[in-house]
C-alpha cells in the first residue's frame, strides 16, 4: 500500500475498464456515491456505472445553432434593409444567397457553443490538478478516488480491497 499524505480519502488504481466498472458498482452499493473516477480513455460504460446519462452540452449546442441562425438573419436582412441597394437584379431581401450565410453561421455558433459549454461544465480550464490525480491515469491505469473523512476511511478501505485494485493509497 502506497502512502499518500496529500490524499484525503482512498485512492485505488485499476488496470482495466471492467475492473473499474465493477469497483464503482461495489462502492456505490456500499453507499459511496461521491466518487471521482479517472480514466485514460473515453468509457461510456463507466459513465453508466456512475449514473451519468446526459450532459447539458446538447442544449448549449442547440442554443448556439439558434443564435447563429438568428445572427445570420439579422446580418443579411438587417444590413440589406439598412442600405437598400438593388444589386445583380435581385430583390433587396434575397433568400437563396442568404441561406448560405445562415447555414454557415448556424454551424459556427453550434460548434463554438458546444466547445465552450463542455469546458464550462467540466470546470475547465484549470491550472491546478486534483491532489488525487496521478500521472499513470493518463497512461494505462484507471483510478477511483473515494473522498471520505477519518470516520469512514476504514470502511471505504475495506470495500476498495474487495475490488480488483492493483494499488491503494489512503
Amino acid at each position: 500500500m502506497a502512502d499518500a499524505a496529500n490524499v484525503s480519502g482512498v485512492l485505488a488504481h485499476y488496470e482495466s475498464i471492467d475492473g473499474t466498472r465493477r469497483a464503482i458498482e461495489t462502492l456505490r452499493e456500499a453507499g459511496f456515491d461521491d466518487l471521482e473516477v479517472f480514466s485514460p480513455v473515453m468509457c461510456p460504460e463507466l459513465e453508466e456505472a456512475l449514473g451519468i446519462y446526459s450532459s447539458p452540452v446538447r442544449r448549449w449546442a442547440l442554443i448556439g445553432g439558434i443564435t447563429g441562425f438568428t445572427t445570420a438573419n439579422l446580418l443579411t436582412i438587417g444590413t440589406s434593409l439598412a442600405y437598400p441597394l438593388i444589386g445583380q437584379g435581385k430583390p433587396i431581401i434575397s433568400w437563396p444567397p442568404f441561406i448560405v450565410i445562415m447555414f454557415e453561421l448556424t454551424i459556427l455558433y453550434t460548434g463554438l457553443f458546444a466547445m465552450f459549454s463542455w469546458m464550462v461544465h467540466a470546470h475547465r480550464p484549470k491550472l491546478k490538478l486534483s491532489p488525487a490525480y496521478r500521472a499513470v491515469f493518463s497512461v494505462d491505469r484507471w483510478g477511483i478516488f473515494v473522498p471520505v473523512d477519518a470516520r469512514d476511511r476504514d470502511r471505504a478501505l475495506e470495500k476498495v480491497r474487495e475490488t480488483e485494485a492493483v494499488e491503494v493509497e489512503a
Partner: protein, 447 residues
C-alpha cells in the same frame, strides 16, 4: 495480410501507445532540423516574391486579358480541396464508427488546418492590395456599407472561415487528452506549456462525459460543413456565365474532387511520416488499403463528373460551351487537360489491385499523381475557361511568371513547414483514441 488493425497480434499495450506516439516529441534529429530549415528557406523565397509583387503591382504576375484569375485562384481551390479529407476522416468516419480512422485522423485534421491556412493566403495574394482584405468582413464601416451577401465571394469568406474555425476546434478538442498525457510525461517548463494547453485535463469520467457529447456534436455539424465548403467554392465559378463554369454539376463534382485530392494528400504525408517515426504498427497496410479504396471511389465519381460534363456540353448543343470544351482538349491548354485526365482517371485505376493498395510505395506514387492531376484540374477549369469565352476579343493565353511560380513553391513549403512543426510538437496519432481501441479490445497488458 490482416483485414483489420491487428493490435493483439502486434502485442500493443496502452503504455506502448503512449511511448511510441510521443517518441517524435521526445527525441530530435539533425535530419529533421535540416529539412525544416530547407522548407523554411523556400517559404522565405515565396515571401520575397510576394513582397516584390506588392511593391511592383500585379503586373509582375502572368495575368493578362482575359485570364485575370490564374494560378493563385487555382491554388486557393486546390488547397481548400486538400483540406476536405481531414474533416471527412475525423467527422464523417467518426459518426459511422469506422475504427480505422483512429490512427490517421490526427494527421489528417492537422493537414486540414494547414491546408486552409495555405488556401487563405491566395485571395490575399490575388487581391494585389492585400491590406484591403478586411473589406470582405462584415463590420460597421463609417459609411454603413456592408459586404454584398449575394456575392459568392462573400459566401467564401463565411464558408472557409467557418470551416477553419470548426476544424481547428475539432482538432484541438480531440487533442486535449493527449496534451495532458504529454504534460504528465514531461518535466519543467515544457510540462507547464503542455499543461496550459491541456486546460487542466485529468480524464475524470465527468470530463469525458461532457467532452464526448461535445465531440459528437462537433462531428455532426462538421459533416454538412465538409459538403458545403467546396460546394460554395464551386459556386464562385458556377454562378458566373463563363463557358466551362456555368454548370449545375459543379458542387458535387468539386466535393468529390476535394475528397479525392485530400485523401491523396493524406497518403502523401502519412507514408513518409510512418517511415520516419517508425509508426508501422499504428498506420498499417490495412489503413493504406482503406484510404486507397476511398481514393478509388472518389476517382470514379470524378471520372463520372468529367463524362457528365462533356455529355451535357454535347447534348446542350450550346456552341460556346462546345467550343470551350474543344479548346480545353485541343487548344493551347491541351497539355494540362490530358495530364489531368491521365492522373485523375487512368492512374487511380491501378488501385483496383489489392497489391497496389497495400503497398506503401505504390500508394505514395499514385497519391503524387493525383495531387498533380487535381492541381491541373483546377488550372484547366479556371484558366482554360477564361482564356476562351464568347468572342474572339476574349480569347487569350496565360503563362505563369517567375513570381507566381515562386509563390506557389513557397505556399507548398509553407504547408509542409507547419506540418513539420506539428510532427515535432504534437502527437501525430490520437493517443487517447488508440488507447481506447486497445482498452476496449482487451489488449491491455500491465505496462
Amino acid at each position: 495480410m490482416a483485414d483489420h488493425w491487428d493490435t493483439e497480434e502486434r502485442g500493443l499495450t496502452l503504455a506502448d501507445a503512449n511511448r511510441d506516439i510521443m517518441r517524435p516529441i521526445m527525441v530530435s534529429s539533425w535530419r529533421y532540423w535540416t529539412l525544416l530549415a530547407f522548407v523554411f528557406a523556400l517559404v522565405v523565397w515565396g515571401c520575397i516574391a510576394w513582397a516584390w509583387q506588392i511593391d511592383q503591382g500585379l503586373g509582375v504576375a502572368g495575368y493578362s486579358h482575359p485570364v485575370m484569375w490564374a494560378v493563385y485562384i487555382t491554388s486557393f481551390v486546390f488547397w481548400v480541396g486538400i483540406a476536405h479529407s481531414g474533416t471527412l476522416i475525423s467527422a464523417i468516419l467518426y459518426l459511422f464508427r469506422s475504427g480505422w480512422r483512429t490512427t490517421i485522423n490526427r494527421a489528417s485534421e492537422a493537414m486540414t488546418i494547414f491546408a486552409v491556412m495555405t488556401a487563405g493566403l491566395f485571395p490575399l495574394i490575388h487581391l494585389g492590395r492585400t491590406w484591403y482584405f478586411y473589406w470582405l468582413i462584415p463590420y460597421p464601416s463609417e459609411r454603413f456599407i456592408w459586404p454584398n451577401f449575394k456575392s459568392p465571394l462573400v459566401w467564401d469568406v463565411f464558408a472557409v472561415g467557418t470551416y477553419f474555425t470548426i476544424s481547428l476546434l475539432f482538432w484541438y478538442t480531440g487533442m486535449i487528452p493527449d496534451l495532458a498525457a504529454i504534460r504528465d510525461r514531461l518535466r519543467g517548463w515544457k510540462s507547464k506549456v503542455y499543461g496550459l494547453f491541456s486546460v487542466g485535463w485529468q480524464g475524470t469520467v465527468r470530463e469525458w462525459s461532457h467532452y464526448r457529447r461535445a465531440y459528437l456534436y462537433m462531428a455532426a455539424i462538421a459533416t454538412p460543413l465538409v459538403l458545403s465548403v467546396h460546394s460554395v467554392v464551386s459556386w464562385d465559378f458556377a454562378m458566373g456565365i463563363v463557358p466551362g463554369w456555368h454548370s449545375t454539376i459543379f458542387a458535387p463534382y468539386f466535393v468529390a474532387g476535394a475528397i479525392f485530392s485530400g485523401m491523396a494528400m493524406v497518403i502523401t504525408i502519412l507514408v513518409p511520416m510512418r517511415w520516419a517515426f517508425g509508426l508501422e504498427d499504428y498506420i498499417t497496410d490495412y489503413h493504406l488499403d482503406n484510404m486507397s479504396k476511398l481514393i478509388l471511389l472518389t476517382s470514379l465519381i470524378v471520372a463520372y463528373s468529367y463524362a457528365a460534363e462533356y455529355f451535357i456540353t454535347y447534348y446542350s448543343a450550346d456552341p460556346t460551351e462546345q467550343a470551350s470544351l474543344f479548346f480545353r482538349a485541343h487548344g493551347s491548354f491541351q497539355g494540362p487537360f490530358w495530364v489531368m485526365t491521365f492522373c485523375n482517371v487512368i492512374v487511380p485505376a491501378t488501385l483496383w489491385f489489392k497489391k497496389v493498395r497495400r503497398s506503401a510505395s505504390a500508394a505514395f506514387v499514385v497519391s503524387i499523381f493525383v495531387n498533380i492531376g487535381m492541381f491541373y484540374e483546377r488550372y484547366v477549369i479556371i484558366v482554360s475557361s477564361l482564356a476562351h469565352e464568347y468572342e474572339p476579343y476574349s480569347w487569350g493565353f496565360y503563362r505563369p511568371s517567375w513570381v507566381e511560380i515562386s509563390i506557389i513553391v513557397g505556399s507548398f513549403a509553407w504547408f509542409f513547414f507547419w506540418f513539420l512543426l506539428f510532427t515535432k510538437a504534437l502527437p501525430t496519432i490520437s493517443i487517447a483514441e488508440v488507447k481506447e481501441h486497445l482498452a476496449h479490445q482487451g489488449a491491455h497488458e500491465h505496462g
